[in-house]
């Protein structure tokens, strides 16, 4: 077999025109047998979700895509709307929890008078905040009045000053804090 004979065999096997020759016949009979004997393709579905998932997992292992499942993306306006609604809901909840108060400063007997729709709740909150700031405060209730008494340290620690400022309560000149909280008339 010469090289040119082999190339003739190759061309005939590939179905390209060649002159009739032993190499041509040898290739043609093989070509016909191969093409006739090709088993019919096993039918496979065009779309197969399991197959696609397997392909994507392979792509992830190859570092082509993120392995983590992707969270659904929200369009920007929708996301902004949801955030606004959440903000509004939180604001409403805060307003509900914060009883409206009125503070009367510097009355004649040195007591700070506060009017609140829920005196017990406000007393508890101020007590908690003062105690968290290190003040030994005492709460009481008498004749529908909720009161707080405390001796404030001097000089006044900043965190205690912040608690008082939060509730609009003036710093007592003598260091004795007396608060009375009542319901509105």
């Amino acid at each position: 077999m010469s090289a040119s004979d082999d190339l003739e065999w190759l061309d005939a096997l590939a179905g390209r025109d060649t002159r009739p020759s032993p190499a041509h016949r040898e290739a043609m009979v093989l070509r016909a047998a191969l093409r006739a004997g090709a088993a019919p393709a096993t039918p496979v579905p065009t779309a197969d979700l399991a197959r696609e998932a397997s392909l994507l997992a392979r792509a992830a292992r190859a570092g082509l895509i993120d392995a983590a499942p992707r969270r659904p993306r929200w369009p920007l306006p929708l996301a902004a709307g949801v955030l606004l609604m959440l903000g509004a809901a939180v604001l409403v909840q805060m307003l509900r929890l914060t009883p409206p108060t009125t503070v009367v400063r510097g009355d004649d007997d040195g007591v700070v008078h506060i009017t609140a729709t829920n005196p017990a709740e406000l007393k508890r909150r101020i007590l908690d905040e003062l105690r968290a700031a290190g003040v030994d405060a005492t709460g009481y209730e008498a004749l529908n009045v909720h009161g707080i008494d405390a001796d404030l340290p001097t000089p006044l620690p900043p965190q205690v000053g912040r608690v008082l400022a939060t509730h609009d309560i003036p710093v007592p000149a003598d260091g004795v804090l007396r608060i009375e909280i009542r319901s509105p008339e």
């Binding site: 179905g15 040898e26 093989l30 047998a33 093409r35 088993a39 096993t42 392979r58 190859a62």
Partner: protein, 197 residues
């Protein structure tokens, strides 16, 4: 392929489209050589990954399927080589030389055209039996021969597939022919000449 080049979030969609458009045809091609269905599926999916990795080299002027098929063929050949099934071929072996000479002599005759169904079936069954032995002994050579017959591969395309020089490719093609003569000798005897049953 445009999505493939653009990358980013388009990749998943691109891979899904590749799978839907080309899996069936590539799977059929792979199964002709790799009989195991799972191994053939793995090869096709590996091909899709390589398509993505090499998409920058796709010229866009040629058809997409032949380009993908070429990548699949590379993968199939690699798998066959890794399997280590290739049996050494000694063309100076007396029996091999005699069989090759016999087929060369047969090919001087006309191709037999069996005129009844029984004969045709016998010849076809003999071919299948011989071909399976050929595939078992020389899987790479058998695969290349089947691709030449099915896809009309040229000498240059075979050289590219094998990553060999033109001279080495000519030698490989010559080896394909010699091995086919030896392994298919029994069938060649039926397929040629007056002695055909």
């Amino acid at each position: 392929m445009r999505a493939c080049r653009e990358g980013g979030t388009a990749i998943e969609q691109a891979l899904r489209r590749l799978d839907r458009e080309f899996f069936a045809v590539l799977f059929a091609r792979a199964r002709r050589i790799i009989r195991d269905a799972d191994a053939a599926r793995d090869l096709v999916q590996d091909t899709f990954i390589k398509v993505w990795q090499r998409c920058a080299t796709y010229q866009g002027t040629s058809e997409l399927l032949p380009w993908i098929e070429a990548i699949l063929r590379h993968g199939v050949l690699d798998a066959l080589r890794r399997s280590g099934r290739e049996v050494a071929f000694d063309e100076d072996d007396e029996l091999n030389a005699r069989l090759a000479a016999h087929v060369a002599e047969l090919s001087q005759q006309d191709i037999a055209t069996p005129d009844d169904e029984l004969r045709r079936t016998q010849v076809a069954e003999c071919f299948q039996k011989c071909w399976e032995k050929f595939e078992a002994a020389a899987p790479s050579h058998a695969a290349v021969i089947s691709w030449i017959a099915a896809d009309g591969l040229s000498h240059e395309e075979i050289a590219e597939l094998l990553d060999r020089s033109p001279g080495a490719t000519r030698e490989f093609i010559s080896q394909c022919r010699k091995r086919a003569r030896v392994h298919l000798a029994e069938w060649y005897s039926l397929a040629f000449g007056k002695d055909a049953p």
